[in-house]
Amino acid sequence: METTTTEMNSSLLSTQNKSSDLKGKLIVGATQLAVYTIIAVLFVILGIIIYEGREKFSWEFISSFPTNGMTEGGIFPALIGTFIMVIVMSLAAVPFGTITAIYLTEYASESSKFAAAVRFSVRTLAVVPSIIFGLFGLGFFIQFVGTGFDTAFNGGELRWGQPNILWASLTMSFLTLPVIIVSVEEALKTIPRELREASLALGATKWQTIKNVVLPGSVSGIMTGTILAVSRGAGEVAPILFTGAAYYLATLPGSLSDQFMNLGYHIYIMATQSSDVEKTMPIQFATTLVLLILTLSLNVIAVVIRSRIRRKAK
């Protein structure tokens, strides 16, 4: 059957069958190889980190403070610091991102210059290197907002004008904003126009349509966006290098104006600036394992939620 079709059509299938079959096999083979390479590398990394980290990995390791100049003990403060930062970050970024996405899909007209500018900004935010957010956090939040706030309300006493967990979280929320916007926007776009039109035709206003028809249909997108943002934020270190992460703290952060320890930052300093890199190797691998478990399990949760909602929608 295929040969007859080939004879009938000229342009696309003018190539001879034999050579095109070989070419096809090569192409499919190459694509397959690429997939398996990625998956293999991923599991190798995972395997090595689990293998090296398993020795030290225990409940005690997770729930105790580092001791003896960070060459022994656990990572409890780093874990808690990361959690607090991620929560504050989500509180700032998720509503902001969702609303921006709603604007872009529901309110902005095709020809709107303003919407085009917003879109462009969001895409730019996505490609701005994470270290720039760190510089921005330092220049804007700490030097400008924080110091300004201190001068105005604290009588010049230094409280907000220095690196702390709030500025780090807000910096991180800027970084993760495009992640949320993009995935919410994508989800909003998948909602069929007919649904919106049906709602409008039944007499609902635009806002009612958004609230009752569009948003419920895009919960999966918001969820996915949030979880992706959280797992990105939990692992990102560059933006908090100089906006709040601390080398070592003996206590947990008590308020938003305290510095905090962070898992990713902890890995970085342990691997590069520890007094004894060789000796602390098991700790480093175990810390990496904890961070990986955290981010990967978040990802798995995201996937599960997404598929469950999709099944429901069907």
């Binding site: 694509t31 510089l135 692992g235 981010t295």
Partner: protein, 437 residues
């Protein structure tokens, strides 16, 4: 739901007109003003990053004048502003500490021109430095970097903590440098040299070697990540069965959940040794290791976006092609792939943006030595890593601080331009496509 409309109400001309509702009006206004914030953020980022780098522009013009007047105080000032930082520079958080405790009083408040100038630019003139240049193997003009030479001997074997090691190197340097100190004309002469020796008695802020390092790492990683990710995306969207697709896609996207610090750590601890055993090069941490590690960070981005682009091609395209008798692979290669080109291009650009500004992997896996060389197996220092490594040691208001912010502005402008390019390219392509149909 099923009741006929006509039974409920009659439409008049007025009732069909759009009515003003306060809640609707407010909702729209609030939503669009929140959307406006993302534009504002871009401006804020640029303004506040650039603002901190402004001092270097004014410094450049006046430096010669001030230096003449204050040539004596030049040497006196330096220990003050540097000493505190250097002793503490093992602690990355020292930024906060330093600023609050001892440095603010002297560094803030428009004293820049007096205090900071003398230490800033001096003796980057080529004649002076050439004698100490090492080897001069490849390019005569570009070689005069004493830094590279020293770094190679002392640091290369285990360049874990460049932050720790640097002051040592620079102190060796500075003894020679002071003897040959000469004043250069402006900051631009300094920025366009290969020397990156920010912490010394005679600091030099040449960006060329950093640029070379960044480009090297970016090219290596994109050469690896680009083809692999796009091919994988093609397989997932065109060849894989629905079942396989549902397994493959989440797994590869899981790679995106690997934090860059984890990839950097893995590259530092495992990959570096592994590749050294295979290729047998000298420096354990180098551009190649960094590039491969960054490819791992870029692959999920490129994969996800190009897979989306490929999957969003309307089914009618594929069906039409298949109905015309094309194979699956012919459809994929000649119909789906070309149709998705703009999306794939955007994916690649996002990948470049990610790699170009990737900080943690560069900090941990590239060796952090500012060398001028085309060899992919030499250590490199990237722009982003420089900011990440050195910002903690600098003092608010000093030239080093401003130069780092200047590098930040450059990175920002680059990524902005990159994105603008992608935007216009993609849009142009789409318009063409629509006109063609």
């Amino acid at each position: 739901m099923s009741s006929p409309i006509s039974s409920k109400q009659n439409f008049t001309k007025e009732s069909l007109e759009k009515q003003f509702r306060l809640s609707e009006f407010l909702a729209e206004k609030i939503i669009s003003s929140v959307a406006f914030l993302s534009i504002a953020i871009i401006f804020l980022i640029f303004i506040f990053v650039f603002k901190e780098s402004l001092p270097i522009f004014s410094l450049g013009k006046e430096s010669a004048k001030v230096e003449m007047q204050q040539s004596v105080s030049a040497s006196g000032d330096q220990p003050e502003s540097y000493g505190g930082v250097e002793t503490e520079d093992l602690q990355p958080e020292s930024y906060g500490g330093v600023e609050t405790e001892d440095l603010q009083p002297e560094s803030y408040g428009g004293v820049e021109t007096e205090d900071l100038q003398p230490e800033t630019y001096g003796g980057v003139e080529k004649e002076d430095l050439q004698p100490e240049s090492y080897g001069g193997v490849e390019k005569e003009d570009l070689q005069p970097e004493s830094y590279g030479g020293v770094e190679k001997e002392d640091l290369q074997p285990e360049t874990y903590g460049d932050v720790q090691a640097e002051p040592l190197v620079e102190n060796n340097d500075s003894a020679e440098d002071t003897a040959k100190e000469k004043k250069s004309n402006s900051i631009w002469d300094t920025l366009l040299t290969p020397d990156w020796v920010p912490v010394s008695e005679n600091p030099r802020f040449g960006l060329l070697s950093l640029l070379i390092g960044t480009l090297k790492v970016t090219i290596i990683s994109m050469l690896i990540a680009g083809p692999i990710a796009i091919l994988a995306a093609l397989y997932t969207s065109c060849f894989a069965s629905k079942r396989t697709k549902e397994i493959i896609k989440p797994i590869i996207e899981m790679l995106a959940a690997f934090p860059s610090v984890v990839i950097g750590f893995f590259a530092l601890m495992v990959m570096a040794t592994f590749f050294q055993d295979i290729f047998g090069y000298d420096s354990r941490l180098n551009a190649f290791v960094g590039g491969v590690a960054m490819a791992l960070a870029a692959i999920p981005i490129i994969y996800t976006i190009s897979e989306d682009a490929l999957s969003s091609i309307p089914k009618t395209y594929t069906e039409a092609s298949l109905a015309l008798g094309a194979n699956k692979w012919q459809t994929a290669f000649y119909v789906v792939l070309p149709a998705a080109t703009p999306g794939i291009f955007a994916a690649l650009l996002l990948g470049v943006g990610r790699v170009f500004g990737e900080t943690m992997i560069a900090l941990m896996a590239t060796g952090n030595a500012a060398l001028m060389s085309a060899n992919p197996f030499e250590s490199v220092r990237t722009f982003a890593a420089t900011i990440g490594a050195e910002m903690a040691e600098t003092v608010f208001g000093e030239t080093h601080y401003s130069v780092l912010f200047f590098i930040g502005s450059l990175l920002f402008i680059f990524s902005f331009g990159l994105n603008a390019l992608a935007e216009f390219y993609v849009k142009g392509k789409l318009i063409k496509k629509f006109q063609g149909k």
